[in-house]
Amino acid sequence: MQQHAMMDVFNITALDYASAGDASATIKRKLKQLGIDSTVLRRIAVASYEAELNLIIHSMGGTLTLSITTTEIKLVSRDVGPGIPDIERALQEGYSTANAEARNMGFGAGMGLPNMRRNADDFTIESEMGKGTQIQMRFAI
């Protein structure tokens, strides 16, 4: 088990659309300062933003945790519910349960989870109804 050199936890509030992107922008700026390659940085930023948007649009609130080691960046999204009833379906491109407000902002096209999986080097998702969802993404640096 590798020691985490640095860890940051960002609280994400459900339905707080105005704040969407604040945590991901902070994460991106921080990683840029550390000199992370711009192509990798963009993949991390997109995955982080998708995770943050999902927490705001779909969850009852949660956290986004950034861990930095010398070899990888890890992003973990944890929420307190409601849980995803059918993960396989949620991972399909185009499947979405987003509300009208999210769609009016230009989101909710059912690309979030597939896009996170595509951008991360390693992607795992676990969800339990009534308990919550945890997504872990790793990026080699």
């Binding site: 992107g21 922008a25 998708e50 230009g106 096209a109």
Partner: protein, 121 residues
């Protein structure tokens, strides 16, 4: 071409980033759906959209998009422009529709983001 040349082709107005117009541009993408922009844009590019909320700027920030063109004469709110300005993103507005804006740029040699990716394969 440069952003300045794009301004001329589109008869566009510069809303912010006046000092950054010498930047070179080779590809563009047009969409009102930020979900799709996040999923398909793979390189620094120009975004043409009719959506004017602050999430367009945030999406551009995540993807390193350096220039946004608002079509159909749309002008975003001051808060949106302020955020773009802080991030050094050039924001233009043109009276042309999204379709015509894309067509004019394509005729001038600007290619689609995915097309460039396919050509590189």
């Amino acid at each position: 071409m440069t952003i300045a040349e794009m301004v001329a082709i589109l008869d566009a107005k510069v809303l912010c980033g006046q000092d950054e117009l010498a930047q070179e541009v080779t590809t563009a993408c047009g969409s009102d759906l930020m979900s799709d922009v996040l999923a398909f844009v793979k390189e620094k590019t120009v975004l043409i959209t009719g959506l004017t909320n602050v999430h367009v700027i945030r999406t551009a920030e995540m993807l390193d998009i350096r220039c946004i063109i608002f079509a159909r004469g749309k002008v975003p709110g001051e808060d949106v422009l302020e955020e773009a300005s802080e991030l050094g993103i050039v924001v233009l507005t043109t009276h042309h529709t999204t379709y015509t804006t894309c067509g004019k740029l394509y005729m001038a040699g600007i290619r689609g983001n995915n097309e460039c990716e396919q050509a590189q394969r």
